[in-house]
Each structure stands twice: as C-alpha cells, then as structure tokens.
C-alpha cells in the first residue's frame, strides 16, 4: 500500500528527486499532488512507508539539498 506522499518545492525538485530515488532503488509512483494537500497543480511522489527505508530516503534527499514534506496519502 503506497500510503505516503512526498511533496517538493518545485517540479525541478520532483524530477531531481525521482532520479535520485530510482538510483537508490526506491519503488514509488509519480502522482499529481492530492488536492487535500495543496491546491497547486504540482507533482508528488507516492510510496509505501513500510517497505521503504524512510530514514535512508530522508538522508539521500537532504544530502542532495532537496527539501520535501511527507503527508499521509488519502484520495
């Protein structure tokens, strides 16, 4: 169950995060940012917090200067 949503400051950050997370072996989906999180028409990353190493994820993104926020995913 992909239950968490990562949001970013810009589409460029989403693209950068996507590349980094694929290289780091994470499984995730690119989705439009759910309306209950933001009314911007931005993109987000959806993943499963149970099967993903969230602290490693946080470390790689922070190391690459990508600022992000984590939300629960609800439709």
């Amino acid at each position: 169950m992909r239950n968490k949503v990562l949001t970013f400051q810009s589409t460029h950050h989403v693209l950068k995060a996507e590349k980094i997370l694929i290289e780091a072996g994470f499984k995730f989906d690119i989705i439009p940012t759910p309306k209950n999180i933001s009314s911007d028409c931005g993109m987000s990353i959806r993943l499963d917090s149970e099967s993903s190493d969230m602290s490693f994820l946080s470390d790689v993104l922070t190391y690459n200067n990508i600022i992000f926020q984590i939300y629960d995913y609800k439709i």
Partner: protein, 202 residues
C-alpha cells in the same frame, strides 16, 4: 475438503478468508468457497485466476459455490484489497488513448513525469474509462520496467481493458517485455475508439 463460508460477508472479507484458507492448504488440494453475492464471487474468481488457481463456479439457489484447486501459490503479501472491486457503476463509456511516452509538447523530462502522473491518476478517477489504449512510444508504459506498471495492473483488476499496439511492440522489438495489457491490432483499436462515447488523448 475444507470449506470457507463467506456467506453474508462483503468485500474484502471473502478475499481475505480465501487467501488465508489457501495458505493453510497443501499443494493441489481442493477448497470450497461459499459466497452469496455476485460482486464478491467475481472478485474472488479474479483474484484466484491472477495467482493461477483452477476455479470451477456453480450457482445453487442464491449461493455461489467455488471449487478451487491449489495449483498455484499466493504470496503472503498479495494485495487482496486491489481485487476488491465494489460494483463499478463509474466505469464510463470513454476511452483513453496514450499516443507516446510523454504528455504534451515541450521539455521531454516534464512530459515524462506528466504522463506518469496521468496514468497513476486513472485508478483514482471517479469516472473511469472503459479502455486504455497504448500506441507508438506509449507502449513503453506497458513494459516490464515501466514506472506505472502497478497502476496498469490496478486498472486491469478493475475490469478496465488495456490494449497495446502490436505493430508498435514489434517495431520497438519489445514484445517479450510486455507486462500489462493485451496485444491488439489497428482493427481492434479503431473499433474501440469508434464505439466509445468519447476518446481522451493523453
């Protein structure tokens, strides 16, 4: 023979009960499942077939009796909820056609995340399409290494048909890597679009 009595139970309970009972069963043993509503019966059948189990269904009065031979194996983390298709009245009459592996004109990397987000949104739409068609470089969305494979499988489980252009698979030499959808030809594709109430090009 072991019996799962799922009468009076609504989705996903019959699916969970079935999965649990099959896990306790030996290979090639038979399980009987009793269900009293058609939706759950269809969902359970779909689930079993996905995991290569042989199923025979019969209706006795208001009860569906399913006989399942454990001819396959269901992984412990099998996503039963994904098979829980609660009558989909929202399955609409339109078709989405994906003509390439990106959305819109402009920067290619942007087009690529747009198409991923687009396909990943279809399972969550209130108004779902009847079919999704993939043409030309759009077929890359249906291959083994596709980033949207899970969403496509979800769509298939919802009963949405996925048609993939066979000529295109052949041209790109990717036939052996198809992981979602069924190979289709121009006749089927044009017919599907002609029959649809409308066609949405992604």
């Amino acid at each position: 023979m072991k019996t799962v009595d799922a009468k009076g139970k609504l989705c996903p309970v019959p699916l969970i009960m079935t999965k649990k009972a099959l896990a306790e069963l030996g290979q090639d043993e038979t399980l009987e499942i009793l269900i009293d509503n058609e939706t759950s019966m269809t969902n359970v059948c779909h689930f079993l077939k996905e995991y290569k189990m042989q199923v025979v269904t019969e209706k006795q009065g208001n009860i569906f009796r399913l006989l399942v031979k454990k001819s396959g194996n269901i992984p412990e983390n099998a996503p039963v909820e994904d098979f829980c298709r609660i009558n989909t009245p929202n399955l609409s009459d339109y078709v989405i056609t994906v003509k390439r592996n990106r959305m819109g004109d402009g920067a290619e990397e942007l087009g690529q995340i747009l198409i991923k987000a687009c396909i990943n949104t279809i399972p969550d739409l209130d108004l779902k399409p009847k079919k999704v068609i993939f043409l030309n470089s759009g077929i890359f969305m249906c291959l083994k290494d596709s980033p949207v494979l899970e969403s496509l499988k979800k769509l298939e489980n919802l009963g949405i048909e996925i048609l993939v252009c066979g000529t295109c698979l052949d041209y790109y030499n990717k036939k052996d890597q198809l992981a979602a959808g069924r190979i289709s030809n121009m006749y089927d594709i044009l017919n599907s679009m002609a029959e649809a109430s409308k066609v949405v090009f992604a």
